[in-house]
């Protein structure tokens, strides 16, 4: 055994990928089933990104909101070890409570951001198909003042035309990170694409250069826009407040 044999993995920061999932009654049936199936199936891909990434380990946390809120697990879990638990829909849309809870967890002292080797800002993906059924503004304003949230990549997927796009734009801070999907195929493609792209951007050191984006959110949006121009992933999907495909909702029968 030589003195040089003693080697361990260099430390990595942690990037937490947070799914904020609306599990209110309107999600029941195909939408909920599709969300469960899609996210469960992209986890191995996120795990692969994490296992080959020298900058950061990716952990996953899932917060569902309906009449109340609940984390799938109390702490974020490494993407490679994460086991998805089926979410069930039913009840109201306590979006405000979800914002409040997220604000608490986006903290180094009281929340998830207390990793020994430090963290990257998280990537937060919100999926919703409707309106909050309670006051949410105050909680969202407080969340928007949270420094972790400010630095995070924020994306929202509106499942169908009934989602409140204004709230989602307010949440993400940019129209360009709000996607409205109208059927199962689009939902699947967008969840996958958004999760992979956000994970890649959020878990790597920044791109630098004269023309480089100044925030991770910008870098993410740039990548999504590039993909929008070059692939069919976004066909039929409305971005921001676009209504080109409004009225085409098709979630099957249940």
């Amino acid at each position: 055994m030589s003195s040089f044999d003693k080697v361990e993995a260099a430390p990595r920061r942690v990037m937490t990928l947070i799914f904020l999932v609306d599990t209110s009654g309107s999600m029941e049936g195909e939408k909920m089933g599709q969300v469960n199936d899609t996210i469960e199936n992209i986890l191995p891909e996120i795990g692969e990104i994490s296992s080959t990434n020298a900058d950061a380990e990716i952990k996953i946390a899932v917060l569902e909101f309906s009449s109340g809120i609940e984390w799938m697990y109390p702490e974020p879990i490494s993407a490679e070890d994460f086991t998805w638990q089926n979410l069930e829909a039913g009840g109201l849309t306590s979006m405000g409570e979800a914002f409040k809870e997220l604000n608490t967890k986006l903290s180094q002292t009281t929340g998830f951001m207390k990793e020994a080797a430090g963290s990257f800002a998280p990537a937060i993906i919100m999926l919703s198909d409707g309106e909050p059924t309670q006051e949410y503004k105050h909680a969202l304003e407080k969340l928007k003042a949270n420094n972790w949230f400010k630095a995070a990549i924020k994306v929202a997927i509106s499942i169908g035309d009934d989602g409140n796009k204004d709230i989602l734009v307010d949440f993400t801070g940019t129209k360009e990170a709000v996607y409205t999907v109208h059927n199962r195929e689009q939902l699947k493609k967008i969840i996958r694409f958004v999760s992979v792209t956000a994970s890649q951007v959020a878990s790597s050191h920044s791109s630098v250069g004269k023309e480089a984006p100044t925030t991770k959110q910008e870098e993410f949006v740039d990548k999504m826009n590039d993909a929008d121009n070059t692939s069919d992933t976004f066909d039929g999907v409305d971005i921001g407040d676009e209504t080109t495909n409004a009225g085409t909702d098709d979630w099957g029968t249940f």
Partner: protein, 426 residues
Amino acid sequence: MSELKNGTRVQLTNGKSCTVKKELGRGGQGIVYLVDYEGKDYALKWYIVDYPDAFMNNLEKNCKAGAPTKNFLWPIAVARRQYDSFGYVMQLRPQGYEEMAMYILAKARFASLDAMFNACLQICTGFMELHKRGLCYQDMNDGNFFINPRTGDVLVCDNDNVAPNGVDVGILGKSGYMAPEIVERESAPNRHTDYFSQAVCLFILIYLNKPFEGARYLSCPCLSPEAERKLFGKGAVFICDPTDNSNRPVKGIHNNVINRWPLFPKYLQKAFVAAFSKEAICTPGKRLLDKKWQEVIIQLRSLYIKCPQCGEHTFYDPTTADNRCLECGRTVPAVTSLFVGHYAIPLAEGQKIYCCQVKNEPDYDKVAATVVKNAAGKLGLKNQSDMPWTVMLPTGEVRVVKPGEGMPAAKGLKIRFGQNETGEIK
């Protein structure tokens, strides 16, 4: 932009064509396909983002010039514009090569220090040849190198960004690898920014931690782009900077560099301290050139000898008084050494003297001499070069040692290697 279907025939600018067999992977810039080109398997990188004609012309120019060394997965043919895009054909990555990130994650490790020296030398020499052509690589990071852990053989990928030095082709890089002036948005990539990134990559391969990620990096809870500008811009602090201890490696976290830093000779430490000094961080002209890095690694390779007492390998630096064996811990008795040009070479049994050390020869692997022991137990040098040596004895007497012949490794002898360098055994 369209993706290519299996079986699609893609026309190349050299008048030939290749046929898509299947997709191998995709990234931000494009999709890589397995293709059949002239009856053999190759990779085709097919762009999914739009690039101007100037980019394609540059690609074609590089392709025509050929790879600087065998270490580059270089464009060997360019696919002309068709199906809304274009691309280039390159060699496939052979089996047994691992991305540099795998070394950082300790999922791959060099089989020996010799393999590590080889990897470092191939990197320095590859980029030296690329720079000699007036080109620069631009975006060097842990995703660009594939390295064979057994042999240390290196393959550099993503060569489509290679462009003439000073020409801004709008390439972005990765903070932590890119030079501070790029992080600060003051400069586009160039030869001098390559030098910086190259030193970062060498440091990582040798010490298995990152050069600017110590206590200061850890104290930043959220690595936002703004924080990265402070940590990797002109205010970057090298974790082993002798004049600034604000970013030291942290015990329990940066264990690799804490263990390995003292294991390598001071000579190597000095090179990194110079390469990452505050002056070199802020002044591109003060960085170590690839030629200098090549010299540093060649010297390092020569200092790695078999301990005459325990038989294990250790470093022995003839220019310092106290050399302790890394394995048995005992002081290594003074080893007679050859001093030639920039190099000091301890003449322990089995050590090799390379042609690049005794004459201006670019091939760092060609052996000029080996230290051998004769039946009487005396050490000598065997001439394995293709030129006779002229040896001057302390008495003034001159002898010729022809190729294949040997001479004693005795103090006081001076050797003129052909028409080249003269060395002295001390």
